[in-house]
Structures are given as structure tokens and as C-alpha cells.
């Protein structure tokens, strides 16, 4: 698999991965602000599924129609839509694109659900690798607490209830997230994750992130043209 830079795209893609509650969304937001304030061509890819794919996905989730295989495929469809419709055009146009989660979330999630890892990876083979991947590595208990302290209403698939790990959604979520973390850590070396210690203060993490970004991407190439 090749990165966007390897494939000679003018843009650069930075992905953040990590468990729910690892603080990755805060970090990517702060990174985006930093890049914007320097007047760079930056785009934060918030995921808006197209209406058709969204309709099928919510039907599958609400009516609990999804198996590990169809769960994987419908999310791959959704990702492909985002990739073809949004990411590739932005990368061709020379943006610094920030993605909150990329294909690694799918690799971890689908593998935990029992899909064959090489089958899942093969399906996402159409996607180029990010130029930088930050992995926010927080202790499992810390991430869990951040999510569970609010006593959120965990959705069926979000809690991994389809895996029959526990009848209690909170317990199921704990086990599910623990398995996700194992999968992420197992991929870390293979995909050159830049592992950030997410137990550090927000500012300390952001400082490391910014240093790594400026060291690895020549940001002067991404200055917005003066109008």
C-alpha cells in the first residue's frame, strides 16, 4: 500500500485514530486551528454520508439487520463514497486534509467482529495510506471512563452487543473497546503509527503533534494563495 505522497498527489492527508474517549477529536481540532491560523489550505473531513448510503446504514443498524460481513461492507461502501467524492478531489487540489478516523478503524472493528483481516484489508485496498497517522494511546480505563461517566445511551452496534460479549451494554462496550485497543496496537508498527501518549495534558500532546507535522510535511507548500 502506498501513501498519497508516494502516489504523487499534491495534497497531504493526516489521519487520527484511537478509541472513543482517547481525546483524538480535540487534538485534530487544535491541529486544524493551528494550520488555519498560518493561512494554509486545510480541510477537516467531517463525515457526511451521502443520503443513499446513510439510509441503508441506519436501516441496518436500527433494525439490527447487520452481520459482521454486511456491517463491514456497508461501512466500506460509506468510506468509498467519502473517498471518491471528497478525499480524492481534495488531495488532487492540494489540500492538507485532516481525517478523524480512517481505514484503521475499520480494520480493528471488523477484525474484532470476526472478519478475516486480509479480506478487510483487501477491500480497502483502493484507498491510499495517509501521509501521517497519529494514534492516541490512552489507558483503556481512562477512555472508558470519559465515555461511560456520562452514562450515555450506547447504541447496539456501538456497544458491540452483536458480539454477545455481555448482556449489559456497558460491560459489552468495555470488552469491545479492550479488543479494539489490542487490534490498534497490533497494527501500530506495520502502518507507522505516530503514537501519542494520550494520558498527557492536552497541550503537551498538541505540542508533539505540531512538531511532528512540521517536521514531516513542508507546510510552506500549502499556503493559501493571496486573493
Amino acid at each position: 500500500m502506498k501513501t498519497f505522497a508516494d502516489l504523487n498527489f499534491p495534497g497531504r492527508l493526516i489521519a487520527v485514530e484511537g478509541l472513543d474517549g482517547s481525546g483524538k477529536s480535540t487534538q485534530i481540532y487544535l491541529l486544524k486551528r493551528w494550520l488555519e491560523l498560518q493561512g494554509l489550505k486545510v480541510f477537516f473531513s467531517e463525515w457526511n454520508s451521502s443520503e443513499l448510503v446513510k439510509s441503508a446504514t441506519s436501516k441496518g443498524k436500527n433494525r439490527q439487520l447487520l452481520t459482521p460481513t454486511t456491517f463491514s461492507l456497508i461501512h466500506a461502501t460509506d468510506f468509498a463514497d467519502r473517498y471518491e467524492r471528497q478525499l480524492v478531489p481534495l488531495m488532487r487540489a492540494g489540500y492538507v486534509v485532516l481525517c478523524d478516523r480512517y481505514i484503521f478503524t475499520a480494520f480493528a472493528r471488523d477484525t474484532v467482529r470476526g472478519c478475516q483481516p486480509d479480506w478487510v484489508r483487501g477491500i480497502y485496498g483502493f484507498a491510499a495510506l495517509p501521509d501521517l497517522i497519529f494514534f492516541f494511546n490512552a489507558q483503556l480505563e481512562v477512555s472508558l471512563q470519559r465515555i461511560l461517566d456520562g452514562r450515555p445511551e450506547l447504541k447496539y452496534f456501538e456497544a458491540g452487543m452483536d458480539l454477545r460479549l455481555s448482556v449489559d451494554p456497558y460491560e459489552s462496550f468495555r470488552i469491545f473497546q479492550g479488543r479494539m485497543l489490542e487490534q490498534y496496537l497490533a497494527m501500530s508498527t506495520e502502518f507507522d503509527f505516530l503514537v501519542i501518549d494520550a494520558n498527557q495534558p492536552v497541550e503537551a500532546q498538541q505540542s508533539v503533534v505540531r512538531q511532528l507535522v512540521s517536521a514531516k510535511i513542508d507546510l510552506s507548500k500549502y499556503v493559501l494563495p493571496k486573493s
Binding site: L52, V53, T69, L73, A80, D81, G114, Q116, I123, F126
Partner: protein
Amino acid sequence: MRPSKRTPPIKSGDTRLVTVPRRTPKRFYGHGIPNVDPEKLSGRLIVVEGADGSGRSTQIARLVEWFEGCGHATVQVGLKRSTLVSEELERAKQGNILSHITLSLFYATDFADQLENSILPALKAGFMVLADRYIYTLMVRDLVRGMDEKWLKNLYGIALVPDAVFYLRVSPGQLVQRNFAKSQALDYWESGMDLGLSRDMFDCFLKYQGLLEKQFTRLQSTYGFTIVDGDRAVEEINAELREKIALVLEGK
């Protein structure tokens, strides 16, 4: 209703025609579906492939009649019939709004949903499953659109290897006639208009069907379809299919 001429006459009370098919081993093309043991699938999966207007549905309807006459329970599946995404796929076809990989994966989702919820349970229960098209049409359509064959083979590694695959080959010229007879117009997708092979729909239809046929023939060596000359009379074709299926049921 007059008794149908096409099924062999069955004398009332004659049960000799009901035979239990011999079990044959099943396998998946690739990894298959997690937690499904192919050993437990005692039914048969019969696939009929071919372009629109090749006579697939006519042949399948007659096979169902024949199977039921012989005492076999049947289930029919086809493309775009899943509970999960059929409605959305139909809408996607109305407005050409999804890109290639997205549409391809959407079809794969439709296939997987039917595989897990119709095909596999029916085979487990010992049914004859008749598939009006299978992964081959999906692969061939994508191959014509330039998608990577290795990628497609991995994707459809979830599919069960059928007991028989019949490809009804009809010449593009003949297909045009049949499509006009059926619906008075050529279909946008069956003409491959999204490929932009020609602005003229008639030319595009012929070119596109020609390309599909070429890919089918290429895949034939890998997947071993039985190519059936679809330019012949309905009954003649059906007799050939029944003869070949009878061998499959005997485990040959």
C-alpha cells in the same frame, strides 16, 4: 388452466420420481462467511447467468416448476433483492450519483445480505436455491469499468461456490431484439451508457454487451461456467439445463 406441456407428466400417486439428492461437498471461494460450516449445507445452489433478455427468468421459472414437480423445495434469489439495500440501490440507479467503487461495494453488500439471510439458511435446510445471476455479473460489470480483478476476487471470497453455473450466451444482436420486444426501449445501465462508449444508445448497447461477453468468456476458465447457447428455443435450452442439473443431483 390447461395442464402445462413443458413439465413431464406425473401420474397421480406416482412417487418414484422423488429422489433425495446425493450430498456433495461445498466450499467458499475465499474466506467465506465467519462461523459458517460449508459441510452443513445440504441443498444445491444453481446459478443462471446472462444479460438482460437472455431468457434467465423464463428458464428459472421452468426449473422451479420442474424441481417442485420432482419434490424439491426451492428458493429464488437475484441481484438487488436484499432487505438491507435493494431500495437504495434502485434509487442509486435512477440518478447516476455514486462513484464506481462505492456502487460496486453497495452491490456486494446486497449480495452478502442475501447470501447470509436467504442462500445459506435455505441450503442448510436442504433447498434448491436458484440464483438469477450471482457474483459473476457483478464482477464482469466492474471489470468492464476497469476495476482490479484481484480486488474483486478478494471481495467475493465470501461467496459460496455454486453446484452449477449456466451462462446463457445470446448474441448482442439477438439481445437487442429481445429487449425491444420486452420493454420497447434499451435500459441505460444495460447499455453501459455510464461508460460513454458512444453517445448513441444502440451502438453503446452493442459495444457494452460485447465487452461483458468477452469478460464472461475470460472468467469462464477460472470459474468453469457451463456456457449454454441461448439463441435456441426456450424448451430446448431448458431440456439441456434439466439434464445437467439431474447429473448434479446425482452427485456427478
